[in-house]
């Protein structure tokens, strides 16, 4: 990687202060601002992985852009703490309800709030999808086909891996590739994984993590303090707050934080979106825009579309074929831990250290399709208490086991759950503090999903036992979100087309993870950013829908 080339296309890391202040206040204070009546080229709802990457790319093409986020514009030094409970505000803690056969807890598990999105609190794993993820229905009879291939994303994977940047050993799985930075040293938990995998005959690699191994621009080296999930105060772990938004602002983007978009404006005469209605400081506003990007992720994107019902779309915006909110996916993410007489102290070093994708692809000898990945995870005390409490302990017994913390190592799996129509977001009867209906998320696992969780748990136990661990315990849980507004070849397969433009309203684009038809067993952040960069290139080449593209029904 040549830093000079990265800097030429994305100067973010060089726009940050080179000292402990972490935030370029002058850049933010001098930020360009737009009035509600300025018809901007693009208004983006949600400043996370997808929305921020899209803004950075299009700002460099001269687009006039406003990015809106429901949460704060974080200052890592002042706002974030090196503390688990104190990081509660990083999560989406506005109300949501969950149900179905296998309800999925939200909040700290998978939902961010604030500029930078969920990447503020993700662990930092940045693997790519495999080519097989894009053609599962054709090749394996499960899941869905994407309207794009791995090759469409590959150049964007390479570009984003340099911009984050990603550190890790050369990667042998999927399409083999190398990483721009060398692997980080590993702590006790990573050593256990490496030792156990070697003994069990399983291939493991260090990385891939979007944590700079060395100074990158004005960003500091990782200090191995283990608080990746609490927001990186060091500016070592990548998030759009430091990897794409500084450059976006430098190129004229306005970020409007603490602002809740309530509804997308729509003109029935033209069949086009007109901007967004939003609430700020208790007052309603309307931002005019030539194009609207909905990037609220897999729960808030469908919620906003459903809350934007109008005469043309009585069942929710873009919902002509009852696809909005459906085919939502989480990954099965059981975590298995074991005890060692040695002190592992898994809280030291970043939780993301070592991983394997040896079980990612379908194994014809197994009764299930698709697979799972295994990674180190290193729960801090409050999260570790969930593991212990899940075994049924409480009272003195729970505290005794908790005081044994330094002796435990913990691995986590990501199991590829299949897209199912009934796993979906709908609107609840319950309202939030703005009076907007909140999201209800229904989730149930299919048999294939359950078999994957069991298989992954078995492999994790094997690795830990092979490393010398005893007293293996497992907690069943979930991670990540994708789907809910998927892309498809036709309007009957997807809410958006291969360029992530809505079939029904051609000036609405969805550049976030909700467009993914399948998810592999990879953490989604890198793929969301790479796809958003791809969408941006398509928009820059073909910015406005021509009149002939406006759906015929819209003019009637």
């Amino acid at each position: 990687m040549r830093y000079r080339d990265v800097r030429k296309r994305n100067e973010s890391a060089w726009l940050l202060p080179a000292d402990h202040r972490r935030t370029n206040q002058a850049l933010r204070e001098g930020m360009r601002t737009f009035g509600d009546d300025d018809e901007v080229d693009l208004v983006v709802v949600g400043c996370g992985a997808g929305g921020s990457t899209l803004m950075q790319r299009l700002a460099r093409h001269g687009w006039r852009i406003v990015g809106i986020d429901a949460g704060p514009f974080w200052d890592p030094e002042a706002d974030w703490v090196s503390d688990e409970a104190g990081s509660h505000k990083l999560y989406w803690t506005e109300p949501r309800t969950i149900g179905g056969g296998d309800p999925v807890p939200l909040g700290s598990n998978n939902s961010g709030r604030g500029v930078g999105g969920s990447m503020i609190h993700y662990a930092g794993y940045a693997p790519r999808f495999h080519p097989s993820d894009f053609k599962e229905l054709t090749n394996e009879g499960v899941g869905a086909d994407w309207p794009i291939d791995y090759a469409d994303l590959q150049p964007y994977y390479e570009a984003i891996e340099e911009e984050l940047p990603v550190a890790g050993q050369p990667w042998p799985w999927g399409v083999p590739h190398r990483y721009p930075q060398s692997p980080h040293p590993v702590g006790g938990n990573g050593e256990v994984f490496q030792r156990g995998a070697l003994a069990a005959g399983i291939e493991a690699r260090v990385g891939p993590v979007a944590i700079s191994n060395g100074r990158f621009g004005h960003r500091s080296h990782c200090i191995y303090r283990g608080f990746c999930l609490q927001g990186c105060k060091v500016n070592a772990k990548a998030s759009p707050l430091i990897t794409h938004l500084p450059d976006a602002i430098e190129h004229g983007v306005e970020i409007r934080p603490d602002t809740m978009v309530s509804r997308i404006g729509f003109d029935e005469r033209t069949g086009l979106a007109t901007g967004v209605h939003y609430l700020r400081n208790g007052r309603e506003h309307f931002q005019k825009a030539r194009m609207v990007a909905v990037a609220g992720y897999s729960i808030e994107t469908p919620r906003l579309l459903l809350n934007s019902a109008n005469d043309r779309f009585p069942n929710g915006m873009l919902n002509d074929f009852d696809l909005v909110g459906r085919y939502l996916m989480v990954q099965g993410a059981p975590q298995t831990a074991a005890r060692f007489d040695s002190e592992i102290r898994m809280y030291k070093a970043p939780p993301p250290e070592v991983s394997t994708e040896q079980f990612y692809e379908t194994d014809p000898s197994k009764p299930y399709k698709r697979g799972f990945s295994i990674q180190t995870v290193s729960p801090l005390p409050i999260t570790w208490a969930e593991h212990v409490a899940a075994q049924g302990h409480w009272g003195r017994e729970l505290r005794e086991r908790m005081s044994d913390y330094v002796h435990w190592a913990c691995l986590g799996a990501l199991c590829e759950f299949l897209p199912l129509a009934e796993n979906r977001i709908t609107l609840s009867e319950e309202k939030d503090r703005h009076g907007l209906p909140v999201a209800h998320m229904s989730y149930s696992q299919c048999d294939n999903d359950k078999m994957l969780v069991d298989a992954a748990t078995t492999v994790m136990s094997e690795i830990l036992s092979a490393a010398g661990g005893t007293d293996v315990i497992t907690i069943k849980r979930y991670a990540h979100l994708v789907g809910g507004a998927r892309m498809g070849a036709t309007e009957r397969d997807g809410v958006v087309d291969r360029e992530c433009r809505a079939f029904a309203v051609p000036n609405i684009v969805i550049p976030d993870g909700s467009v993914f038809p399948t998810q592999g067993s990879a953490n989604p952040a890198l793929s969301i950013m790479a796809n958003a960069a791809r969408v941006a290139d398509a928009l820059a080449t073909r910015p406005m829908p021509s009149a002939t593209e406006v759906p015929a029904g819209a003019a009637a």
Binding site: G187, R225, G226, P381, R401, S403
Partner: protein, 210 residues
């Protein structure tokens, strides 16, 4: 009843707060606020707060003073509606669950002994909660029993394992910015970390004969 290693024995002289000068200002202020005398409860009334204190004390076998501290932090969350961002669709919102639970514990106590939960002897409180935890019933009063137990333990553990007293007994040094760690790896320690005094005292093993 307890066959494991007492939590106080592993790191008897380890005190996380001794490291407070090495922490960043935002984190230090937050953690120190947790060891100051708590504010009086706002959401819970006096009797509810006393019941919550007894409940928290039982759930983690803590003395009254620390339990009241944790109950106050739970009261603060309920006052501010600081939830975890979701609730089961068969459960009320969290602050209503807590109020119903505290009333339900009194109902159960009256049935058992004709007193409130707080007035029960500690062993009886424990027995009552043990019955709630191990019951095969799907419902407990008007609530989903399993979801209710999980919620109570989740709030209580979140409060306790955010407190330096809990970190001391785990040998976990807490906040780590801007210092970070230099000695990572198995059996590697920083100068400010302490060795476990009883490394082979596996609490899971000690219970096998229970």
């Amino acid at each position: 009843m307890s066959g494991g290693q007492a939590p106080e024995d592993r790191f008897p002289t380890f005190r996380v707060l001794a490291q407070a000068p090495a922490w960043d200002a935002a984190t230090r202020e937050l953690v120190l606020s947790r060891v100051r005398p708590p504010h009086p409860p706002v959401y819970l009334n006096g009797h509810e707060f006393a019941t919550a204190t007894a409940l928290v004390g039982q759930l983690l076998d803590l003395d009254d003073e620390l339990a009241a501290h944790l109950a106050a932090s739970i009261d603060h969350r309920l006052t501010e509606d600081e939830t975890d961002g979701w609730h089961y669709d068969d459960m009320p919102v969290d602050h209503d669950v807590w109020r119903q639970v505290l009333a339900g514990l009194d109902d159960d106590a009256r049935q058992r002994n004709g007193t409130t939960f707080v007035e029960l002897p500690a062993a009886e409180q424990h027995a009552l909660l043990h019955a709630l935890h191990t019951s095969q019933d799907e419902r407990w009063h008007d609530l989903n029993r399993g979801h209710t137990w999980d919620l109570l333990l989740r709030y209580t553990c979140t409060a306790y394992y955010a407190h330096p007293a809990a970190w001391d007994e785990m040998g976990w040094p807490g906040p780590a910015y801007p210092r970070g760690y230099k000695n990572i790896g198995i059996d590697a320690r920083e100068p400010f970390e302490q060795e476990d005094r009883v490394p082979s005292a596996d609490p899971t093993k000690d219970r096998d004969d229970e």
